[in-house]
Symmetry: C3
Subunit: 357 residues, 3 copies
């Protein structure tokens, strides 16, 4: 073969167009089946995947920063304490309004603690008869301090080992039954929420007043964002979660609590502290949401999947045509050529024996 002929052959190979031979069946029933199946696929893919599920959209998760501000005060007048007015600087801990904030509702105060010696709280492992029961330097992390080796009178009837610690020790069993700051339910919270969808360069800002009572412990649900149409539809969801878990199953120690101290210095220079075991409600303002916007990659991928399903339609129509139609033998004969591989013989249309099985 000459070079020119080879080149022409290659060009023919590349640029000859090979197309499928087709048979047109002018049968209304088969046509209806074909078009109807096609319609179903298009409706499903376009209607459900595109319109309902918005498969053509890229998504991005919200990034938010939350500031909160609590307003309100409470007045307490119990036998344990002097009458006292509590304002924001007293009961919001820490004072700066973050997405997570704690509202004090009850407390055990242990005032005037100093680094000194005192007998431990009575308990099977701390009660003693004489100094021999108390090993000096014994240091049990579940107890309250380091033992001095002495056995002292805790009360007129009980002796316990003396410890070096912040004395007097806290007795947290005398927690006021009724929430001291029951008024906390009526405090109001102003939530400022600044949101960003970094992928779409969308920024938003929202204010939202709430009450610390029932409304804050409910979940909000304000939908997600569709940035394709209008930004006004973009409302991230709030979830106000009370971390003291009202659900008792989840919680061995009911109520959220933690200890903190206020430190003072006496006139004689000795450091003293007021230990506070604070019980209360810890709120977490959780903001979540997803924004969607037209994206070329998900759009192409979804369109590609739709086209794939359309390629299944002829299989269904062929099956109907070759199986259910009255003239199926004729259709099979015309559509399918059965190659008979006897030497020298020409192939014959023998679809009748094949296509109808």
């Amino acid at each position: 073969m000459s070079k020119a002929a080879g080149c022409r052959g290659f060009l023919h190979h590349v640029f000859d167009y090979e197309t499928a031979k087709t048979l047109v069946i002018p049968h209304f029933g088969v046509g209806i089946v074909f078009r109807f199946t096609q319609l179903l696929v298009v409706l499903y893919v376009v209607g459900y995947v595109c319109v309902v599920q918005k498969g053509y959209q890229e998504t991005d998760s919200v990034i938010s920063t939350v500031t909160t501000k609590v307003k309100g005060f409470a007045y307490t007048n119990t036998s344990d304490m002097d009458p006292r007015m509590w304002d924001v600087a007293d009961y919001v801990i820490p004072p700066q309004g973050d997405s997570s904030f704690f509202i004090l509702t009850n407390l055990v105060v242990t005032p005037e603690q100093t680094q000194s010696h005192c007998p431990e709280l009575p308990n099977p492992s701390t009660v003693c008869k004489d100094d021999c029961d108390c090993i000096e330097g014994y240091n049990d992390p579940r107890r309250n301090g380091i033992r001095t080796g002495l056995c002292e009178n805790f009360s007129t009837t009980v002796k316990t080992c003396e410890v070096f610690s912040w004395c007097p020790l806290e007795v947290d069993t005398r927690l006021p039954k009724k929430a001291l700051l029951a008024a906390a339910e009526n405090f109001t919270v102003l939530i400022k929420n600044s949101i960003t969808y970094p992928k779409f360069n969308f920024h938003g800002f929202k204010k939202h007043p709430a009450s610390c009572g029932s409304r804050l412990s409910r979940d909000g649900s304000e939908g997600n964002c569709d940035l394709d149409w209008w930004a006004g539809k973009c409302l991230p969801k709030y979830s106000f979660r009370r971390l003291d878990s009202q659900n008792q199953d989840n919680d061995v120690a009911p109520g959220y609590n933690f200890r903190f101290a206020k430190f003072y210095k006496r006139a004689d220079g000795v450091e003293e502290r007021t230990l506070i075991k604070a019980y209360g409600i810890r709120f977490e303002v959780i903001v979540f949401g997803t924004a969607g916007k037209f994206g070329i990659v998900p759009a192409i991928v979804n369109l590609g999947a739709a086209l794939s399903f359309l390629s299944l339609v002829p299989i269904v129509a062929d099956w109907v045509m070759l199986t259910c139609m009255r003239k199926r033998d004729l259709y099979t004969k015309e559509k399918v050529t059965y190659l008979v591989e006897s030497p020298d013989s020409e192939p014959v249309s023998m679809g009748t024996t094949y296509g109808t099985q």
Copy 2:
């Protein structure tokens, strides 16, 4: 039909290979159209979806932990206060450098508050003529304390209801006009940022100095991660957002502020506090970013979508061939067989009447 014949029939059904009959058109124009359309699809899918949009990658969002450290001090000397030097322990609240930190720039100090009685600030609802105007125990959460029932002199000209509260009450209208700690603009912030992409088990670490002035309020933009090629390309975006919202539209109460108190104990044991209404700048160091890495599922899905589009190419080429070419009648006659369903008659090639419509 015998069992052996049935089995042979089934084997034929499964293993006979049914292939499409094709017609080769040695027409350069049609071939060009076909190859060119094919090329367009391949270029688009490979070039745009794969190279530009990196559709073959799985993505993961950054998880980061941020620590910040502010450096600098400020000196104030105003008529309201003694000269004072402010250092980090004074103006960064809370002191521990979190991703969110607050720098004090202005403040209203109310020193020596104690739990006691004092007349309310004058206001249409608090001004009184005699004790009858002040209901004892009246407790309005928008006011400052619980009423004692007395009407006292607030000044020589005005009488207001007395309340039990932290007295004297805060007068926050006398906020210094000029920011007290204007020097805050020159403070520097060192940001340490530790990032993780958990799906790809990638860990990174970065330091970043900034100034509290103009630079911190601008957005950073340092791109995203491509973990396929080299990790050096992996720079999450920083966004420094000032939560005091310089945009006045978003903000009814301009400036971010909150109240906190320092508690003291007097020599006589009475608790007193200094209430501070702190105005300032709250920064949130927000780190976002997305890392991408080759993933088998997105790669397959994108390749599948590309193949689907290639299956559209013959439709385009066929349309050109059967509509625009000079010899379209010949092509149609050869490609399409029109089944004439007259009884006993053989089908004839009648594409001329069909394909050109």
Copy 3:
């Protein structure tokens, strides 16, 4: 053409069914190749993409809120300080157990600081000979205060410029070598972790005790969620990251530290503070995880991609048939019709010259 005929033509155009003409090759080898290739694609797509990679699932990222509670105490007895017992209210800063908490292990205490004058710490830029070396009002943010213009004796041998600042100044070079609160390693941390997958409306709750020692600095790995089958499989990953970065490469100032102050008021009304430079371990409890659940869009997209690959199978089988088989010339002749465009001539099957190239 009459209107009725035109309408009939249009109906024919829409509802005539055009199907591909096919050729059946009853050759076992080709059939095997075809079926085997088909099987490979199905196995790969179904087995790998669906079963292993769970491509049919929508995913959602965890949203979690963490509370932590540290237990334990430490006893210190060094020459610098009086013997002291440290409990939670002393060494956990801030006291409220957040996802991020700091445990004090070492500290530099500077007690009894007041706003006053004192000579700076000696340093090439602060040492002076007489008052001329010290410019009054000079204010270097890297130094400790504002210069008064005097040159004072820092010690018997060195004179430094006097500054107005919180005096005496902190000397943080005398950091105790051995961690003061070495006992911190034995503190226990109780982690409560409340998780949500908002897209799937799944809520979970988990408790997890840990020690501040070795176990907390290791990474946990407890897998992700498969919400399709059972919720018990849904365990988000914990990552306990020590932000003091034991990796020395990443850290110029080894150890995480920050400064805070306790404020006191003297009997004479002067405010004094104890400045504490706190060294310690900052823990971040990071919770990440992904939940997957059957989703219609990813399922359709993955199925579509699978179908696309199946459309490649006949190309493989045709290539084998027309290239490798003994009777390839016969197959080509039957399958491919080569259109010869000589005027008036009928096309002939000439696949022999085309298909085998």
